[in-house]
Symmetry: C2
Subunit: 297 residues, 2 copies
Amino acid sequence: MIGNTATLIDGKAIAADLRKDVAARAAELSDKGWSPKLVSLSVGDAAAAELYVRNQQKSAKSAGVEFEARNYPTETSLEQLTGIIQGLNADPRVNGIIIQRPLPDHIPVKTLQKLVHPLKDVEGMHPASIGNIVYNDLALGPCTAVAAVEILKTLPLDMEGLNVTVIGHSEIVGKPIAFLLMGLGATVTVCHHMTRSVAMHSRAADAVFVAVGVPGLVTGEMLKPGCAVIDIGINRVDDKTVGDADFESCSQVAGWITPVPGGVGPVTVATLMSNAVLATEMQMNHYRDAYARSEFD
Amino acid sequence: MIGNTATLIDGKAIAADLRKDVAARAAELSDKGWSPKLVSLSVGDAAAAELYVRNQQKSAKSAGVEFEARNYPTETSLEQLTGIIQGLNADPRVNGIIIQRPLPDHIPVKTLQKLVHPLKDVEGMHPASIGNIVYNDLALGPCTAVAAVEILKTLPLDMEGLNVTVIGHSEIVGKPIAFLLMGLGATVTVCHHMTRSVAMHSRAADAVFVAVGVPGLVTGEMLKPGCAVIDIGINRVDDKTVGDADFESCSQVAGWITPVPGGVGPVTVATLMSNAVLATEMQMNHYRDAYARSEFD
């Protein structure tokens, strides 16, 4: 070993490029009278989600997307929130709805996410959004999963036939990453806490995605030299933020690696804005098609 | 090699067991006034889908599910079919809608499948049905995929950590098999026509699913001794029906193998009936919940 070999993937630069592209599309939409607008809903203690909301607000501003942050009191009932979301679904001036976590215990997050109209589901959490990804349809995907795959696409690797191992099989990160990659022609293996030997699969992979929330889970010995490591973990260790990959050893074996922080995180927020613009485009086309058919649904 | 070693998996017996279970649930539903009923729609040349329809009709009869086969003339428009499906969606006496293929060229099959209400989607083709499977929710899955996984579950194998290779990544077979297996704790690799070396992945697998429509694609040398082979292919070769696995060589290496015909096929038809009963149960609960909330939606 002659020290670090991996090229650091600059998530901030990728995010900035993405926001530039989003801003151009947002301007085009505005010219047509369809200025993209997001509404963020948080319930209860505003401080818990504040950092996320502030980041999203900043990203929205630089991407030319209007952003309205609403905070409702802790005692808001599920019925009231249902009414609020239905109102936002019906409001043509609102193009995307974000449901900030954490929510108070009496509000089941999945129930709220299913209430968001699939055309306004900028977080890509609705079962129909997930199903559309499986069908390779143009669709709003879960932001973190889409961001992680977009990062891989910036590398000089041929996606067709690429051997990829995804570690972690959550519904909103690991699994959607797997379908997105399958859609691009990669050969994908999904590992998780029940996998007998993660190393057996990761060592055969040209790219490794890890999203499990265990610091240092992936080490250099588990990698094929020259591979890409996309680290989606965000863990607090001794007041430092670290990923799921042991950066020290992995960067000596991998060809590319995302830092934590500064890797997948910034691209995820930019992807939310890209979803906002995509949702607005889909809504515009939906209304046009409905008008052409002379029926509004 | 000392000749055949693989145990033949008896799809007809598994299907018969499944139908017996379905018949019991159907009888229970009937007692509650919710007798399960399927409506099959075919358009144009009835002969093309006739064999499927007849098989389904027979299976429905022995599973205690009512089955109505409708055939519409070739010149039926998309708008007319839309109206027909919306009518069936709204009819509380109809619990499941089957759209037989092939359809005439002017009828896009995906458009029709998306019109079926997710609660009546017994074929498991709606994006929301697929998404619900990804979310591990109780859901109506695509029949072939569900049947293939049910067959694996009859074998004395521990699903948790099982290494499975799925060959073929179609939206309605390969991909749903992958999520269903992930939901059971298996470590899943999905291969397809762009995969560099299918053998590398299949040789590491405790179970191999193949669904690509290429006779003899999987041979004995590609298997780990003692593995399970679930063959979903249905191909006509020299007036014989064969699968995607080369039965001769595979059965000398595998521990279990499904025959074609007589493997996945019969279980698929029985799964359609099991979906009919599940759909009826879901609809009954949906109406009950709506009644409890004093709102009908």
